[in-house]
Structure formats: C-alpha cells, structure tokens
C-alpha cells in the first residue's frame, strides 16, 4: 500500500467523474504547494503526470478513507485527518489547501459522483477483503459445476426447494441484520450437538431467502427452540408429526412486513416463508436433523418446510406474547411443536356459547378423540369468529377457561377399550372427569383475513410438557 502523507493533502478521484475531470488541472498547483497524494479509482491515466498519483485499483485506500464521493479532498496534520470536503466547492478547497486563488476560473460549486467503493456488490467485497469481519466457515469451491443452486442440492443442503447459494457477500449482508458477533455461539444444535454460530445462522438464512432485517426474529426463534423446555432434540427425532412453528408478536412483525391477515398460515409472504424455512435449514444443515436419518417422522407435515406467522393484534384480545409475560410494545416469538392445520368451520354460531361449544368439540380430535393431556394445541381464531367473543366481552382467558370446562370428559368414555376402540387413556381415569389438555396446554392466537367464520387447530406434539416439549416465548432484541 502506498503510504499517505502525514502532513499534506489527499485527493480521491475517478476519471469517469466530470467534476474530477474539472479539478484535474488544479492538481499540479496543489502538488507544487505541498505534499499531495492523488488516489484514482478507475483509470491510471488520470493525473498521471503528477509524481504522486496512485491507481487505487483494489480500492483499499478509498475504502479505508471511508470515501463516499469523488472528488474528496482530505487534509492530514501529524498523521490525522483535520479537514475534508467533497465535490468541488471553491471556498472549501481554498480553505483546506490554503491556496487562496485556487480554481479562479472554475464555477463556485459542482457536485461530485459516488465513490466506486459504494457501487452495489463492491462495498461488501471491500469489507470482506479489508474489514474486521472474518468469516470462519469453510469455503466450498463449486466452480467445476455449472449451476450453484444444483451444487447446493448435490451437497444435501436443501429441503427440496432451491436455496440461494450462500456466497460470502450475501452472508456478510445477512450479518448486517444483527449487532451480534458472527462467531458468537448461540447454542448447541441438536441432534448432532454441535455449536451453532451466528455466522452459520446467517448462511442458512441466506439460503432460505431471508432479508437481513429478519435476523433478530430468526435468532430469537432459534434461541427459543434451543431452550431446554422446548425439547428440540426429541422433536427432531420423533416418529410423530410436529416440528418447530414460530408465532411472532409485537412491532417487529409489522416492521418486517409479516403476514397476520389473509392466508396468514399459507404461502406468499417472504418474511413468514423464509424465517420458518431458515430455522428448518439450520436444523438440517447445522444440527444434522435430516429426514430418513435421525429425523424419523412417519409422515411429517408440510410445516417442516416452513411454519411461521404473526398474530393479528388489532383487537381487544391480549396478544399471545403478553399473555406469556412479555411487556406490551415489545416483540417476541413463541415456538410451538406444531403439526398441520385442521380447520374449524362454524358459519352459523352468532353467540359465544354456541361457538365455544363448536370449537371445543372440534378440539377433541387433537391426537385422537380418546386421548387426553397428551399434545398441546394452538387455537387460531380468525377475526370473524374472534369478533363474536370480543363483542360479547369474552377475553382470550375467558374463552380458554370455557373451552377447558367444555372439554372435560368422563374417563369411562376415554379409557382403553371404551366405545369399541383399543386406543385410549389408562384405566385409572375411568371414574374421573378428564381435561383434554394439560394446564397451560391450550394456546389461543388471533390471525387471518377479515372474511370467514373460521378458526383453526394446530395440534402440538403428543409428548407435550416436561416429558417432551413445552412452548417457549423469547423476546426479540434488535
């Protein structure tokens, strides 16, 4: 690297910039008056007659000087920058150079051009080359293969859909979405029990199609998944259906454009789609949880591609995260071992009692109508159904209590063998009133479009609670 003058002037210029061409004749005068280093970004012919012109082909000088515009004029005194101007501003250039009649024949002012260091794709390359961030992941050379997406498939990095090839530039951009150190270990990733760094999260987020601004939600979801209460290890390995499902509350959902409205549980929203998918790719690629290997799911469910949505918080109902202890106005994720979606159609109930009964009967189907206190469930109430409760003054809590009461069932109907079905709960419950869900095992959220008298059940893992998985809520920190 050329050394810059400890005392003197530096001019950063681009031959392609008309304003730089305008000031080019002044460089001789500046050079005669004292030490001058000219750094030209694009063409060694610019200012070539001067002894001190340096072709900054790698752009390292320009980058280290944080150059945003050309021309930029910088004064150094005792090795430290003491003045800077950019573009052509006659008064500023005269003040900084000390030459009181500099550029007499030039106009008073001309704006400059953007520095080459800030051109798309260049800034990240320069930061990778010269910056403090040092990515640690192994580089895989796929140049012998004609299509990087196919190369990712060939290495087993995909969930079956195409992934975005994780280049260093893309990963660096993704890391801009968090303040956290790329080498920070976020936790030990099951099932292979390997440390998972923020950098590995970012790589998989790139592949999933995330934007950098989704990183705080993804990191909170991953941390929640790695909480011991969630039991991710067992959930990955089970023969049953469930897999991590992410529910998002608070201002972050709107800020990153998440969908809590029409088709909230469906396709078509980038944040919903890619945050859920990134978590699944981390499980696959970092954790080693691949189907047919240690993921022993008999059937699985489509949510294992991605399952992430936001709660619609525009009602009197308390958002899920606040019910679970997060202060109002903060953002949080709740992670749940979700199966697929079972719709509840009730287009005739107009009072809360009737609708609660209808929902309760539908909830009996979770796991098996004859099983109880096995799997948790999330009840997603769409706005048309929610309105019936809200207008009658029913809070979520009141609805939950009513459902719990309606779901109490005589043990004699549920025990093994009862009603001609071998499946059922142990005989010891025969004379008891049995709740469908364990305490705290029924979560209620409001989401969906504003037309449709529907709700939906997302059943949890049949090993819910301390024996398997409990939902975990984690605040999203920016």
């Amino acid at each position: 690297m050329t050394s810059l003058p400890a005392d003197g002037l530096v001019v950063v210029a681009k031959a392609d910039c008309p304003t730089c061409r305008l000031i080019e004749p002044l460089l001789t005068e500046l050079s005669a008056a004292g030490p001058l280093q000219v750094l030209v970004q694009d063409d060694p012919e610019f200012g070539a007659s001067l002894p001190s012109t340096h072709f900054d082909q790698s752009l390292e000088h320009s980058w280290r000087l944080h150059t945003e515009f050309v021309p930029t004029l910088i004064r150094f005194d005792n090795g430290r920058e003491t003045a800077r101007t950019y573009g052509w501003d006659k008064a500023e250039w005269r003040a900084i150079s000390g030459l009181t009649d500099l550029g007499e024949e030039l106009p008073v002012m001309r704006p400059g051009c953007g520095s080459k260091t800030l051109e798309p794709g260049i800034a990240e390359k320069l930061e990778l080359a010269f910056g403090d961030v040092k990515l640690q992941s192994r580089e895989i050379d796929v140049s012998a293969e004609d299509d990087a997406i196919e190369a990712c498939y060939a290495r087993g990095w995909s969930d079956g859909l195409p992934v975005v090839p994780p280049t260093a530039v893309r990963v660096l951009r993704m890391l801009k979405g968090t303040q956290r150190d790329p080498q920070e270990v976020i936790g030990i990733m099951p099932p292979d029990l390997v440390p998972c760094t923020i950098e590995k999260v970012a790589i998989n987020a790139v592949m999933a199609g995330c934007k950098p601004e989704y990183m705080p939600v993804l990191l909170a979801a991953l941390e929640a998944s790695l909480d011991d209460d969630f039991g991710l290890h067992g959930l990955i390995c089970t023969t049953m259906f469930g897999s991590p499902m992410i529910m998002v509350n608070g201002p972050i959902a709107k800020a990153i454009g998440m969908n809590s409205g029409n088709n909230a549980l469906g396709q078509g929203n980038r944040a919903n789609a890619t945050i859920g998918r990134a978590l699944q790719l981390i499980i696959r690629n970092v954790g080693g949880g691949r189907p047919g290997e240690i993921d022993r799911a008999t059937l699985g469910n489509p949510g294992k591609y991605t399952f992430c949505f936001a709660e619609a918080e525009d009602s009197d109902w308390l958002p899920l995260a606040q019910e679970r202890g997060i202060p109002a106005g903060r953002s949080a994720v709740t992670i749940f071992p979700g199966e697929g979606v079972q719709g509840i159609i009730d287009q005739k109930s107009r009072d809360p009692e009737s609708l609660a009964r209808s929902i309760a009967e539908s909830l009996r189907a979770v796991d098996n109508v004859k099983l109880a206190m096995a799997g948790d469930a999330v009840l997603v109430v769409a706005p048309d159904h929610a309105r019936i409760f809200i207008e009658a003054g029913w809070s979520k809590q009141r609805l939950r209590e009513k459902l719990e009461q309606l779901l109490l069932a005589p043990g004699e109907n549920l025990v093994t063998g009862a009603r001609g079905m071998a499946e059922g709960i142990p005989e010891k419950f025969r004379d008891k009133q049995v709740p469908k869900f364990r305490p705290g095992g029924l979560l209620i959220v409001r989401a969906g479009g504003t037309a449709g008298l529907f709700s939906a059940i997302i059943a949890g893992w049949a090993a819910s609670g301390p024996v398997g998985s409990s939902p975990v809520t984690r605040e999203v920190t920016l």
Partner: protein
C-alpha cells in the same frame, strides 16, 4: 455475483468434497448393470465383465447410451435406477 465459492452451511463434520454413495460390501443377490456408452470396443470390455460376473452367479443387465457425445437420456437413467443395484460404465477408447 460470483457464485463459485460458497460458505459451508453445515457443522463441517463431513469432508468438503461430495461423498460418494456407499459401495456394497459384496454382490450377493445384487443386480449389476453394464452401461455401454457407445464408444468403439466398449462392448468388448463389458462382455468380459459380464462373463466374469455371470460365472460367479451375479445377475447382469446390459444397457447402452445412444451416443457417447451426450449424457444418458433421462428415461434410460430412470430405467437403470429402477432395475439394478450397481452400475458399471465402460469408458473405452
């Protein structure tokens, strides 16, 4: 954007090079396919392999590509994958 260098998204417990599919320990009960890519004298090599495999009681199926200048047609690849456990390709020249 240059996509020839990718960052490994895995825990890096496996070698960076793509792993080969596991090789069978022996050919007992396996069906072996012999693929002639249609280069001259490839059949001579494959005939001899077939003789030797048949002599030890291994079943053999023969296939050939229409031309060595192009990858095998999808139908042929699917047929081979459905019919054999192991494939030997004769790259004669």
């Amino acid at each position: 954007m240059n996509e020839s260098i990718l960052l490994d998204p895995t825990a890096e417990n496996a070698p960076a090079e793509r792993a080969r599919l596991p090789r069978p320990d022996n050919l007992n009960g396996k069906v072996v396919g012999l693929l002639d890519i249609s280069k001259p004298r490839g059949n001579v090599f494959l005939d001899r392999i077939e003789e030797q495999l048949s002599a030890i009681g291994v079943s053999v199926k023969r296939y050939s590509k229409p031309t060595f200048t192009r990858p095998a047609p999808t139908e042929l690849k699917q047929q081979i994958a459905g019919e054999v456990d192991v494939l030997v390709e004769g790259l004669a020249d």
